[in-house]
Amino acid sequence: MILSVASGKGGTGKTTVGAGLALVLAQRMGIRFIDADVEEPDAHILLQPQITGTSAVTVPVPEIDKSRCTGCGRCADICAFGAITQGLKDVWLLPALCHGCGGCSILCPEQAIGEVYRTVGHVDRGYAVNIEFAHGRLNPGEAQVTPVIKTVKQEICGTMSAIIDSPPGTSCAMVEAIRGSDMCLLVTEPTPLGINDLALAWEVTAQLGIKMQVVINRCDLSDQAELYCEQRQVPVIARLPYDQQLATAYARGASPLINRFWQHKFELLAQAVWGDRV
């Protein structure tokens, strides 16, 4: 089972829910945890893995052989991202805008364009007790997120269940993170902002054909999320109350399994997702 945890709105508790589930599952089986929030990966703070290896995430960028380039500008015409501009007699590259499609290299009539690799981030691998861990880290200043997400998701292999921590938002980064998962938990909060973004995130999971369940976090703040889900027949798999003690534990980077109440809450959630497999 590959479970992704997303939200739409940031700060609703994705990482807490994903980490809590991983820690409770790890008490009885091996589990893989993939932190795909590569812009701001935080799960390692709660899971405390020992990092055993790091590899660079690279993207291809064009390299022009000036001895063969005639300055025809075909590459600049082809490039959909403005990464190549035609000058008077040659062409200029803007590597930061390159999406690595290879079009310029494939279509240059003089075969004057090769490719070199540029590092945009890293994947760290490690383990905690019964947890195989990996997260991606985008290099600050880099714009393109999806290559790092794609690379960290390559760590998912074999039959071991995996939990994927998705970034906030509903755009291509979130899509890349949850794509291919068997189920997606959408963590929301009962505010107009939380519900607005839940609706958007739901649209994405539906478009990707991923089974979705809602977790209402801080459910006791208002009944807005409950009413929304009831009216639209959105399935709610868990309701987690606001707990100042949990908030303080989170602040100091402690595991969310702070007491029997939360241990039981996460056990129930694990059972609801994994059923008899747990």
């Binding site: 812009e39 701001e40 935080d42 959909a80 079009g103 997120v145 906030p168 938002g169 755009s171 958007l200």
Partner: protein, 290 residues
Amino acid sequence: MKQLAVISGKGGTGKTTITAALAALAGNVVIADCDVDAPNLALLVRSNLRESYDYSGSKISVIDKDKCVQCDTCVEFCRFQAIIRYEVDPLACEGCGVCYHVCPAGAVMRTDDQSGNWYVSDTSYGPMVHARLQPGRGNSGKLVAVVRERARVIAEDNYSLVIIDGPPGIGCPVISTITGITGALVVTEPTLSGIHDLKRILEVCRHFAVPARVCINKCDLSETNTKEIMKWLAANEVAATVGIPQDKDVIDATVHGVPIVEWSSGDAVHAVRRLWKQLQEWLENLSGGS
């Protein structure tokens, strides 16, 4: 004319709540919601839609099945696994057009991909430019640039300040949010995750030479972590603003969809008012952004 962006790195630290409060205190400003993935500012700031525009971030490929000879050339050259059973998956298509160029049968068409909308609305505090990218789509950075540019044009000659609600993270929509602004207010929280993410977003600000000040929201959640943040900021020559304490009124205001400064006058609101004064003085002494 100055431009202030409210960003965070970590999601959920209170950007939109604080942006709405600052707009309410400032009055007569141009507001820009650059969180185009999941725009929320309109939920806190009462607005009337005035103008609506289609947004097309890129072209997308479409395969004409009548012309397609199923030679798999497009599949061979597509680096984004976007072609499955001779159909282009719009959520995976990068818009590069390589399939269009390599197809020997001329079976691939490129069409403008209408992937979102952007809007201009009137609010009690001034005009607001906002947008919505269709869920799952890419090129959010470009849509942010559209919002930024219209906000700048509206503000030029008529307003002295643009307040920008930024997206979470550090990727392309955030970069697009902060390029060319006067200064960034980075909203953080005193948690280990918040501290970790704060350092990364500040590195991005430094990379793009954007002046930044840091506001610790819910500063009383952890005195230890607040002290650690202050120490780190001092060591790295980044100034902090007044911190904002936890306050039940903030939750109540958010649940009711009202800027906090119009809901109560408790501790958090008191701090936000002081924050606004600090920001006004700071922006006055900064150049850039016009």
